[in-house]
C-alpha cells in the first residue's frame, strides 16, 4: 500500500528536519511542499530522502496541500496523510490514522485532539477558539465533529480524487468538510495527540486569523463558482 505523507512548510527551518526525521522510520513516501519559504527551510532538507515541491511564492497551506495531493495522485498514491511541519503532530499517530482506511471503514480519517486521553496542555484561548470553530463548521457544512482545524488527516484514493481544495489559506480545513459532505465520503475521527510547544504556539493561528478564515469562507461561498 503506497502511503504519501504531505508536509506543507513555510519558514520552518527550526523544526522541519526534526519533524521529517520522526516520519522517515515509518517507511512511507514523504512529500514536502515548500510554500515559498524565505528562510533556510530548503537547506535543511538537502540530504533527506523525500520528494520536494516548491512554490515560487507563498500561497498558503490549503494551496500547498492541494499541490501535494495533485502530485501524490499522479505518483500513484493509495493513501495520503496531511501532516503539519511545525512539530505539533506525532508520527506515532499515523498508524491509527490510516487503519480505518486499510480496514475499508472510511474514505477519510480526521484526527481529533479532543478524543485523546493524553493531556495536551491546550491553552484556554485556543480551546475556546476551536470549540467556536466546531460550531461554525457544523453550521456551515452540516458535519458535527469533535475537533476543528486539526491538520492531521488521512484519505484514500477515492477521497483524493474527489477533494479539490480551492481555499488557498487556512479555510481549507472547513472546505474539506464541505467536500466530504458534497461527495458523500465516509469519514471517521480518531484520537491524536497535539504537542503545544512554545514554537507551535507562536506559529499557531491567532484570533485575527480566525477572522480571516471566516471572511474567506463567507466571501468564497458567496462568490465562487
Amino acid at each position: 500500500m503506497s502511503v504519501f505523507i504531505l508536509v506543507p512548510a513555510y519558514n520552518e527551518e527550526q523544526v522541519i528536519r526534526q519533524t521529517l526525521q520522526s516520519l522517515l522510520p515509518l517507511g512511507h513516501q514523504i512529500v514536502v511542499i515548500d510554500d515559498g519559504s524565505t528562510d533556510d527551510t530548503r537547506q535543511q532538507l538537502h540530504d533527506l530522502p523525500i520528494h520536494l515541491l516548491t512554490h515560487m511564492v507563498n500561497l498558503g497551506q490549503g494551496a500547498a496541500l492541494q499541490t501535494g495531493m495533485h502530485y501524490a495522485l499522479s505518483a500513484g498514491a493509495e493513501i495520503v496523510v496531511h501532516f503539519d511541519s511545525d512539530g505539533q503532530h506525532q508520527a506515532s499517530d499515523i498508524a491509527a490514522l490510516i487503519q480505518p482506511i486499510l480496514d475499508k471503514e472510511a474514505d477519510l480519517v480526521l484526527g481529533s485532539r479532543f478524543l485523546s486521553d493524553q493531556p495536551s496542555g491546550i491553552p484556554l484561548s485556543r480551546k475556546i477558539l476551536l470549540k467556536s470553530a466546531i460550531v461554525l463548521n457544523g453550521l456551515l457544512t452540516g458535519l458535527w465533529l469533535s475537533d476543528a482545524h486539526n491538520g492531521l488527516r488521512a484519505m484514500n484514493r477515492k477521497a483524493l480524487t474527489h477533494i479539490h481544495i480551492r481555499e488557498n489559506r487556512m479555510a481549507h480545513a472547513t472546505e474539506i468538510l464541505s467536500e466530504i459532505k458534497k461527495h458523500g465520503l465516509r469519514f471517521k475521527e480518531v484520537p491524536v495527540f497535539i504537542q503545544y510547544s512554545a514554537y507551535a504556539k507562536a506559529k499557531g493561528q491567532s484570533g485575527w486569523n480566525a477572522f480571516n478564515i471566516l471572511s474567506d469562507l463567507i466571501l468564497h461561498k458567496l462568490f465562487s463558482r
Partner: protein, 124 residues
C-alpha cells in the same frame, strides 16, 4: 456659476473623454461610466437637480441621494475588484502548482545513467 462648478465640471468632462477613449474595447463599461459622469455633470451644473430628484424619491436632501448612490457604486466596484482578484489568485495558484509539480525533486537526486540534467518527476 459658482466656483465649485468651475472646478468640477472641467474635471468631469476630462474624465469623460479619458474613460470614453480608454474603455473603447469594453462597450458596456464605457457607457456605464459615461452615464455616471454625465449624471455627476448634471448634478454639478444644476445644483438643485439632485434635491429635486431626492424629494421625488422621498430621500430628503440632494446630498443624501448623492451619498447613497456613491456608496452603492463603491460597493459594486469593490465586489468587482474582489472577483477579479479571486480570478487572478486562482490563475496564479494554478501556474505555480504546475510549475512546482513539473520541477518536483526527489532528494537525494536520482540521476539517470548518462544524464547529468534535472531530476524532475519525468526522470523518475
Amino acid at each position: 456659476m459658482k466656483p465649485i462648478q468651475f472646478i468640477l465640471l472641467p474635471i468631469f468632462f476630462l474624465l469623460l473623454i479619458v474613460f470614453f477613449r480608454k474603455l473603447r474595447p469594453y462597450p458596456i463599461l464605457k457607457y456605464l461610466t459615461a452615464c455616471i459622469l454625465l449624471a455627476a455633470m448634471v448634478f454639478t451644473a444644476f445644483l438643485d437637480s439632485s434635491t429635486f430628484i431626492a424629494n421625488w424619491l422621498g430621500v430628503g436632501r440632494g446630498v443624501d441621494l448623492v451619498i447613497y448612490l456613491s456608496l452603492m457604486g463603491l460597493t459594486v466596484s469593490c465586489l468587482l475588484l474582489y472577483l477579479r482578484t479571486m480570478r487572478l489568485e486562482h490563475l496564479l495558484t494554478e501556474v505555480i502548482r504546475s510549475q512546482s509539480i513539473q520541477y518536483a525533486h526527489i532528494i537525494p537526486p536520482v540521476k539517470p545513467i548518462g544524464d547529468e540534467g534535472s531530476n524532475s518527476l519525468e526522470n523518475q
